[in-house]
Symmetry: C2
Subunit: 282 residues, 2 copies
Amino acid sequence: MEIIKEIELMQGLSEKWRRDGDIICLVATMGFLHQGHIELLRVGRENGDRLIMSIFVNPIQFGPQEDYKRYPRDAEGDLDKARSCGVDAVFMPTVEEMYPDGFQSTVRVEEITEYLCGRSRPGHFAGVTTVVAKLFNITRPHLAIFGEKDYQQLIVIKRMVRDLSMDIEIIEVPTVREKDGLAISSRNSYLTPEERSSALSLKKGLDLAKAMVAEGEKDPAEIKDAVRELILSHPSTEIDYIAICDPEELTDIGIIDRPSLFALAVRVGKARLIDNVIVREN
Amino acid sequence: MEIIKEIELMQGLSEKWRRDGDIICLVATMGFLHQGHIELLRVGRENGDRLIMSIFVNPIQFGPQEDYKRYPRDAEGDLDKARSCGVDAVFMPTVEEMYPDGFQSTVRVEEITEYLCGRSRPGHFAGVTTVVAKLFNITRPHLAIFGEKDYQQLIVIKRMVRDLSMDIEIIEVPTVREKDGLAISSRNSYLTPEERSSALSLKKGLDLAKAMVAEGEKDPAEIKDAVRELILSHPSTEIDYIAICDPEELTDIGIIDRPSLFALAVRVGKARLIDNVIVREN
């Protein structure tokens, strides 16, 4: 497994693989790999001849009050896991390599980044699309794998790829969950045992919403009220948003008469957790 | 010569050329080719195995009060010229092909687009970088040729390429001028014979500035005053800006003690004309 820190070296290797006719697959991560990443790598390994994983905790996608500094890191553990997953190259640049002095360019998706997490994390998605565009230019993948857990990120990246005619296929991988349903996330490591059990309220809220729709409820306001009540009945929870919206445009839905995205962001202790599900009407 | 209107077909052809090991060179144009473009094509032909020329009058780089609708067009003439210049493929998409419904992504260079033309044409450079990034993704060039006439555009594109790690070499081509010194531009076609002679004041202004520096003048304010007076002594001229600034950062220079960019934008009748020169201190 190659471990590469310089942009030029990574580009050179990808270019060589492309000339050899290899299909290149990218899994972009911020490291601290968990079962969700492992699943992305598994899908990547299955679909590409060459599997590249990037590890980069991207400062420009964190707000000034957010957890950039304390974001969990474990380079050695990550490299071991990458080896076990059959990764061909790990690209792990420094911040200075990615954003040298004078850096001043941004890739932005405008409308669908204004909703959901975009509302409470201004600038976050511009940070994501900028770094992903740059990682695409560096690793030159044919395929890139993203998880449905970060649903808005997934569709923002798909929109960027389509709008800017990047010749890359985005493969979506379903959310990986703990046995009890908690969506796996690096930020779960911030949870105390008590908070860990409150964190389950996200999945329970989504299940409740799904059940209500299955029973014929079509009014988003009714469902949001019930989900809010359920979540707030758990200690240390603070709701950022509960959204029921169009799965592509992320605009609110007035009545649930078509497949809808149910998405949540909830603060549990120090962790801001998200989860989502697409619900088909009854 | 191939004439291609669909993004996917162009990507397929470029990908094939790349696999064949060909060096691909792009000359991006808005059509209505003149001697300046011909020079870009000549340099492109010299440097690449495959020469692609794009023709696309890009609506998003024009302001609402600007000349998008009346921008001169001559597709047949352009194709003839492209053939004579040895172009391998002309990419000429429709606006709908480039910006389908729901398009909402932007590539932006932030700081150096705030000065000079960026000040009087808000949004212009975001339109330029967005379309150029997209054209790069579509034509996948190793090299792209841009003229020094649009100096700010040139360095904005170079900054975008560097910041976003686009693996593309930008080649700069000196401004092509008429015999009397007027920088060749499609917008010269807007000029009446009287305005044509006033348009010469741009080059005369730059020559005057250069002469003043050669004689030891180091104060930008003195030089700007003299250039302003010279230009305004010509009928139908209205100055948009006279700038003396750092050639990379485009920030104003307090004293001319290093190579400086002298740049002008002047309205002459219906045409907004620009010209520039890099002046080395005496």
